[in-house]
Amino acid sequence: LVDAQDLGRGTPPMNTERACQITRGGGENTPAPVTVGKKNTLNNFCIGIRSDRPGCTSCHAGFVLEIAGFVNSSKLAAQFYFQEMTVLKVMFTAIVVAMVLIFLSSALGMLDYNLIWVNPTYLWPGIVGGLIMGIGFIIGGFCPGTSLVAMSTFKVDGLFYVLGAVFGIFLFGETVDLFDIFWNSSYMGRSTIPKVVGLPTGPGCPARCSHGALHVLGFGAIGTDIQEERCPEPTQAGICVCRDALGGCPEGPDSRPASDDGSLGTDCG
């Protein structure tokens, strides 16, 4: 993930988590330190945003996914092993930020909450679909949006994932009549957390915000522990060499794994 020799030289010590930055697009001669870190993750994407200019929205969302490093299937799949918390932290942060902004705008009369489209809930089909998607996510290393972004950046695994998704869509379309009763069952309409738990939005918002913050902090701590375990002794400059969650370098087939002791600056770029 990082070239410690290049990146760390001459920089002040940093804590382990901060040091585990991602370099993208760089080789041995182009370390290109970058971009993904807590302070860079407050981007609202991947939460069903709508726009009068769908092309712009798609482009922005895809661009942010790309610069956030979410085109890396190893990084995404590692979330499920609790070895790489970026996805959860980014998503949870985005959700909480969006929630606060939406309800604040609504409270100030700037936004009509009733006009925001909320996907209707079909509880059990949703649970089953979520499980199927989760399994596909683990196996393939992408969710649908990130796979498209990966494909557009010429990643072969992204291409195959998209082909698989298209085939799955075709298969679903051809077979949905066989289970359409289940498919349309347990309809709950426009179901939101305030409605389900019976809390007014006012008190509920800070409660969920705190809940989200605890999650992010909690998972951040888990992530830090894991990072520390993987990088027990940061280099002199305070920068460790991190392997990706699956033990290899995440940035392509020609990359090489970092050394186990974290002291050697192996370039995974």
Partner: protein, 199 residues
Amino acid sequence: MLSAGALKVLILGQPATMDRWARIAVERQAQLDEREVYIHPGELLDTMHDHRLNLVMLDVREEADYNLFHLADADRIPIEEIPARIPALHMEPANTVFVVMSNDEIAATECWKILVAESIPNVYILEDGSNGWISTLGSDENRLRALDGGEVGDLRYAFAAALGSAFPAADPNPHDYDIEYTPKIKLELKHAPISGGCG
């Protein structure tokens, strides 16, 4: 900053229906004053048989009046239960036209204000309510008779039996009538989601 925003949401809360109405009252009250949203029974009859539209008729009268007579497929809903029904109404398809009705126009207008404040699109009021409907389309019905007097908001007809929508006037054949009216329904299409879900 996030916590401050959440705290502000806690303090401000979310706007109630009347707050929402107050924000749009100037514009929407003008529609009421100009009677832009009161549709003639003839237009409702045509709309009932226009299969391009999904018509939802909400009858806000008392249950006794509803049992006496109501339009075919009209749902009775007490006005105090309207707010709870709002999320379901939002889930109606984009080609839905909502028509609210009462015995005259008073209760229906109050219901219209709630629905419009809650951003339900394409809401109209039946002109002169059930009384207007019967006088236009049920005058030849021999199982009812017009009453003199009565209070505002009352049904101005007496019925031989509480047949609900079994009266022919509850679902008349549009081809039997030649009614002239000024069309007022303008379908405001809401946009379906164009993206969503994770990534």
